[in-house]
């Protein structure tokens, strides 16, 4: 509010520093748009040859480009969805613990530790997944398939190395927990003190206070946090390429099998080094599809956030 009044005031004198600063923020703001446009133009221009070419020239001779990209898009969404399902409750839990339950000193150090997790490079997570996690979960998968094999997610045969889409999703979940936690913690801390105290004064327990005051206020932020995490999980390349045992052209929801759907980003990482000619365009075209998917997901999230914001009780 104060900002708009100041800008509207006719008496405001613009000093050179103000001009330079507003100019540079404008430049920064437009640079991001230019970069985005440049990426989009590059993707479209490079994709056109693959989209118009005879699909039999593409790798694996699919019936059409969509038959090629479909299973990959499914794999990307499936792995990211699984990761989000695992990461969301944990992240919100950690964030609430830090913002509302933990003693101040513990909260601070826990916050640092979670942020530190975000600084670990994905190749390290990949190594951890392939060297530690996959061997560790192999017996568990064996048990699951043996005892719950009737359940479609765990139908036999079981993978002998544990390098399945579920393992990838677990690694991805660990990778996106820090970002989701950090954003939602900040949002929870912004809850107006008055709302919280009002809830407590009306006799709410702490859990009821969180449910009635903190979560409704923080919901748009929680959704944004989830979208940031989803974006990272969708685009993650290294971990998928290193850990997953992919079987291109396959669509399956089995979590514990040897053959798993590959993801767009992982497939590009695996095939780009040896690709040439039209195959390069084909891979870039799959990248364009991933770009479109993330754009759609983010727009949907934006719509949801805008609709929720009105009811959040903020302001």
């Amino acid at each position: 509010m104060r900002m708009t009044t100041a800008a509207a005031s006719p008496k405001a004198t613009l000093r050179p520093a103000d001009r330079i600063f507003s100019g540079s923020t404008l430049l920064a703001g437009s640079l991001i748009l230019v970069a985005l446009a440049a990426v989009a133009i590059f993707l479209v221009a490079q994709s056109v040859p693959a989209l118009t070419a005879d699909p039999y020239e593409l790798k694996g001779s699919p019936d059409s480009f969509w038959a090629y990209v479909g299973p990959l898009a499914f794999g990307s969404l499936w792995a990211a969805f699984l990761a989000l399902v695992m990461a969301l409750p944990l992240s919100y839990g950690i964030a609430l613990f830090i913002s509302h339950y933990a003693p101040r000193r513990l909260a601070q150090s826990l916050g640092y530790v979670v942020d530190l997790l975000a600084a670990v490079p994905s190749v390290v997570f990949g190594l951890w997944g392939i060297k530690v996690l996959a061997p560790a979960v192999t017996p568990l998968y064996g048990w699951l398939v043996e005892n719950a094999g009737w359940f479609p997610l765990f139908s036999p045969p079981v993978s002998g190395t544990g390098r399945t889409i579920l393992t990838v999703a677990i690694v991805l979940a660990v990778m996106i927990i820090p970002i989701i936690t950090a954003v939602s913690r900040e949002v929870f801390l912004q809850t107006p003190r008055l709302h919280e105290e009002a809830a407590l004064a009306l006799g709410a327990t702490r859990w009821e206070m969180i449910r009635m005051a903190v979560i409704p206020f923080g919901r748009p932020g929680m959704i944004s946090a989830a979208m940031l995490g989803l974006g990272r999980a969708l685009g993650e390349t290294m971990v998928v390429a290193m850990v997953l045992s992919p079987s291109p052209k396959l669509i399956t929801i089995v979590l514990t099998g040897s053959q798993n759907p590959s993801t767009i980003a992982g497939n590009i990482a695996l095939n780009f080094p040896e690709a040439h000619g039209i195959d390069v365009n084909g891979l870039i075209a799959t990248g364009l599809i991933l770009f479109a998917i993330t754009l759609v997901i983010n727009s949907v999230a934006r719509v949801v956030i805008n609709r929720r914001a009105a009811f959040s009780g903020a302001d």
């Binding site: 045969p157 190395t161 390429a241 045992s245 079987s247 040897s258 690709a275 040439h276």
Partner: protein, 363 residues
């Protein structure tokens, strides 16, 4: 605050730029006063199977000839051949010999109608590695290997495996066969061996991607080795030098079971018949996969170097000649054996290659 901070950033950028610039200047400096009389830049591209050997060769060669810079881009055999045909690189590394239509099309970097050179430079035996509880030694023939990787044979105590391994107790566990998830010359040669020796089982055309939707996939040689090591009752194929402590299957050649060896790999290359395009300057071979001589190990990858006899760019010729001569020499082959686990070319092949390289016109 802001100004000083951004000033600091500028300073860092400046220092960085200066440091890099001085590096470049240093390199140029050492280049001009070298003991070697050759100098310049040599670009090659192609097979990634040669990648680690090329790195070792480049390092050793540049140490001996500080004036020469060699760049090898391991972008894949197909990309390397294309780049060479278009004249973009002075030599190409390729896991499969030039196709007749590629030869007929001519080479942009060579003087027209002077021909080309194609010589073997890198031999790598491929090992069938396994990790099975309680099994130390394993004998397999091509049909069984093909059945396992195709997904027809699914348990370790399958009668087909048991028949080859009398006296070994095989578990009744299911087999996890691990192949490469990325395109690879190793896969192509593995598939070529299986399709030549056991065509009734392995009915897919040999190519860089793994053809069947069976078993597990892992990225790169190290990924396959990792998966086989960390998994249970696993089997895979990898460049023999990377097999480490894993069990290595002996494959059936003639009536005997043969473990991989550098000698066996070099022997099959030395005694294989000449390829379809072979000629005076083309030493390509058609690997004798169906050999019955137990001193041979036919599951092997051979990678060639392709270059010109007479270059349009005459300055490139002596560089190419000295570099390719080095890598195919006894010294270069020993370097590749030490750092990349390659099997050295046999002395006869090495001598043939040297004769061919002498035809490069450097005048």
């Amino acid at each position: 605050m802001n100004i000083t901070r951004s000033g600091g950033l500028v300073a860092i950028a400046l220092v960085g730029a200066l440091a890099l610039a001085s590096c470049a200047a240093n390199e140029g400096g050492t280049g001009s006063d070298t003991p070697s009389d050759l100098s310049g830049t040599l670009a090659g591209a192609g097979a990634s199977s040669q990648g680690s050997a090329q790195e070792a060769w480049v390092a050793a060669f540049q140490t001996a000839n500080p004036g020469i810079t060699v760049d090898y881009d391991p972008s894949g055999s197909g990309a390397g051949r294309e780049a060479f045909i278009a004249g973009g690189v002075a030599f190409a590394g390729t896991d499969s010999a030039l196709k007749p239509e590629e030869i007929d099309g001519g080479f942009a970097g060579c003087v027209p109608d002077t021909g080309y050179i194609q010589v073997p430079a890198y031999i790598s035996p491929i090992a069938v590695i396994f990790n099975v509880d309680g099994v130390e030694e394993l004998n397999l023939d091509a049909a069984t290997i093909a059945g396992i990787f195709k997904g027809d044979i699914t348990t370790w105590d399958d009668p087909k495996i048991a028949a080859l391994n009398e006296g070994t107790t095989l578990p009744s566990a299911s087999i996890t066969a691990v192949h490469r998830s990325d395109d690879s010359g190793t896969t192509k040669n593995f598939a070529d061996y299986l399709s030549k020796v056991a065509p009734e089982v392995w009915d897919a055309e040999p190519a860089d991607p793994f053809p069947y939707a069976s078993g597990e996939a892992a990225q790169g040689t190290s990924g396959v080795v990792d998966a086989v090591t960390n998994g249970v009752n696993t089997i895979g194929y990898a460049d023999a030098s990377k097999a480490g402590d894993l069990g290595v299957a002996e494959i059936k050649v003639g009536d005997e079971f043969v473990a991989y060896s550098a000698e066996g790999a070099a022997a099959v290359v030395a005694e294989s018949p000449a390829g379809d395009t072979a000629g005076d300057t083309d030493l390509s071979i058609t690997l004798d996969r169906t050999t019955t001589d137990p001193s041979h190990y036919p599951l092997v990858l051979v990678s060639y170097i392709v270059t010109c006899v007479e270059f349009e760019d005459a300055e490139a010729a002596p560089l190419v000649k000295s570099y390719i001569s080095y890598i195919t020499s006894e010294e270069g082959q020993a370097e590749a054996a030490a750092s990349a686990g390659a099997a050295p070319l046999s002395p006869e092949v090495s001598a043939q290659v040297a004769t061919v390289l002498d035809t490069i016109v450097t005048g």
